[in-house]
Amino acid sequence: MPSQANKSAAAAATPVKKRGMKKETREALIAYSFIAPNFIGFCVFTLVPVIFAFVLAFMEWDGVHAAKFIGLDNFIRMASDPNFKAAFVHTIVYVIGTVPTTIICALALAILLNQKIFARNFFRTVSFFPYVASLVAVAAVWNMLFNPSMGPVNQFLASLGVENLPKWAAGNDTAMLTVIMFSVWKNMGYYMVIFLAGLQGTNPELYEAASLDGANKWQQFWNVTLPQLAPTTFFVTIMVVIQSFKVYNEVYMITQGGPGTSTLVLVYQIYNEAFIGTPEYGYASALSMVLFLLVLAVTIIQFKAGEDKDAPKKKKHAKKAA
């Protein structure tokens, strides 16, 4: 609908020009007509709620009675909320557990699948498939495979003679580990594709030069591959970090935040406060702000850290373009 309306607006603009509308104005109108369909939807359904979220964080509202401005009370309340402390700590633990593992696995996969090997496309498809597969379905399989009493994983461990079989998702100590393992397995294929794309942009001459200089594969990896991949690694790191802070689905499917609160994460708590029992929209929004600030802070730190490395990379790009 909006697209049609804008097209006709732009069509109307064309004859106007003949009556002397400036070329620039006409061009701008055409450009806006291209952007409008997406931008209107984006404004209404993303931008407005984002702004609304900032306001709501300072209010108390159950959705029934009138909203009340309460200043920083929501944030003060967090300090004494054991659930918030648990959710905050577990989110950090999840991020620390997931980010490096995912990046290392994805990079290793990409390098392996960038070799000239038999059935390369098959292996690439296989590694990417968990990412596109429905989360509910693959989580259901994982829960069965890692079932503490009947699952094949523990049966296998038992047949090897392992005592004290891990309780996986049901154990206080192993629940978070299970969620992290599942997330890495599910998502690394996506980042592998991005690394693959990065590897295809590397300069083969540098490897020839390095091997002429007598560098072995390992040295080539450290001194040629990694530096050339720096922009890709930077992008992947930012994406994985943001994704990890937002974790919800994986936790919901594998552990439901339990046992107890041992895998309660921030988004899980936000959902519970807003949609389970008496809605606490204000408090949920305040928690959302914490999540947002966390993501923002870590992203800014990464950009600052990436700046020094960025300088040589830009030079290289300029050279390539020339």
């Binding site: 369909p37 359904f45 993303t46 292996f123 590694s127 597969a133 049966q155 794309a197 929004s285």
Partner: protein, 278 residues
């Protein structure tokens, strides 16, 4: 010489050993799912396990449709996924064309605004978004899901990165030939951007098909629910019918598998050329 040859053979062996391990880790859950879906429930966890059961219980695949309205869920999800994907691809590529190939006031500022919101997690504003939709009386409708999925900044970003790689001279030449901007978009940019569009289609299709939290928040009536919610409902209601859960899971995977296999040859190319590598 001999030394390098033997070391390269060892290298090959290591590579293929790793590949087999990889395929094993990635495929075993799916193989197990398939295998369990055609077994009697009592045999699902039997040990030592049989990958191929003595008797194939195909009834599992007919039983699931009678336990929950699975067909309704699948049709709902198809409807949502197709509408969202079409809207997303059309509006994103449309906007991306302006951001990449047209000059106008405020272009960079507007684009920066778009990019800025990519960093804001949806989970950070899902609560006010839900309340806003409720004000519009859109909660418990499919329209809500369409509205919140179809206009992502990510799509605009991805398409713009790809268009940046198409030389401006091509558009200039078309303009001199008297093609309007809409003509250039439709006749030149769209056909050239097939890899990027495939990438966006895969991403959008997969995200919408597999979305869980969005439908969980917005869709309450059973006749509106999606496959993911339905599957989860099934798992909760029939938590010990492992064979049926696996059969329903297999069914829920098939559409995504088809779309992915159909478009995957464009995929790596699309990711590479859309400059997702930063």
């Amino acid at each position: 010489m001999v030394k390098t040859k033997s070391s390269s053979i060892i290298g090959k062996i290591i590579i293929y050993a790793l590949l087999i391990l990889l395929a094993f880790l990635m495929l075993v859950p799916f193989a197990w799912m398939l295998s369990a879906s055609v077994k009697y429930n009592k045999d699902v966890f039997s040990f030592p396990m049989k990958w191929i059961p003595d008797e194939f219980i195909w009834e599992n695949y007919s039983t699931i449709w009678t336990r929950i309205p699975l067909l309704t869920f699948i049709l709902n999800t198809f409807k949502l996924t197709i509408i969202v994907t079409v809207l997303q691809v059309l509006t994103s590529s449309f906007a991306a064309y302006a951001f990449s190939k047209l000059r106008f006031k405020g272009r960079n500022a507007l684009f920066l605004g778009y990019i800025g919101t990519i960093a804001v997690p949806w989970q950070a504003y899902m609560v006010p978004q839900f309340m806003m939709m409720r004000e519009f009386h859109l909660n418990n409708t499919h329209l809500a899901i369409i509205c919140l999925q179809a206009f992502s900044a990510f799509g605009v970003f991805l398409m713009r990165q790809f268009y940046e790689g198409i030389p401006d001279e091509l558009c200039e030449a078309a303009r001199i030939d008297g093609l309007s901007e809409y003509g250039i978009y439709r006749r030149i940019m769209l056909p050239l951007s097939l890899p990027a569009i495939s990438t966006l289609v895969i991403f959008t299709f997969v995200t919408t098909w597999n979305d869980f939290l969005g439908p969980l928040i917005y869709l309450n009536s059973t006749d509106l629910k999606t496959v993911q919610l339905g599957l989860r409902m099934f798992i909760t209601q029939y938590s010990s019918d492992y064979n049926l859960i696996m059969a329903a899971s297999v069914v829920s995977l098939i559409p995504v598998l088809i779309v992915f296999l159909a478009l995957q040859k464009y995929f790596v190319q699309g990711v590479a050329s859309s400059g997702l590598k930063g």
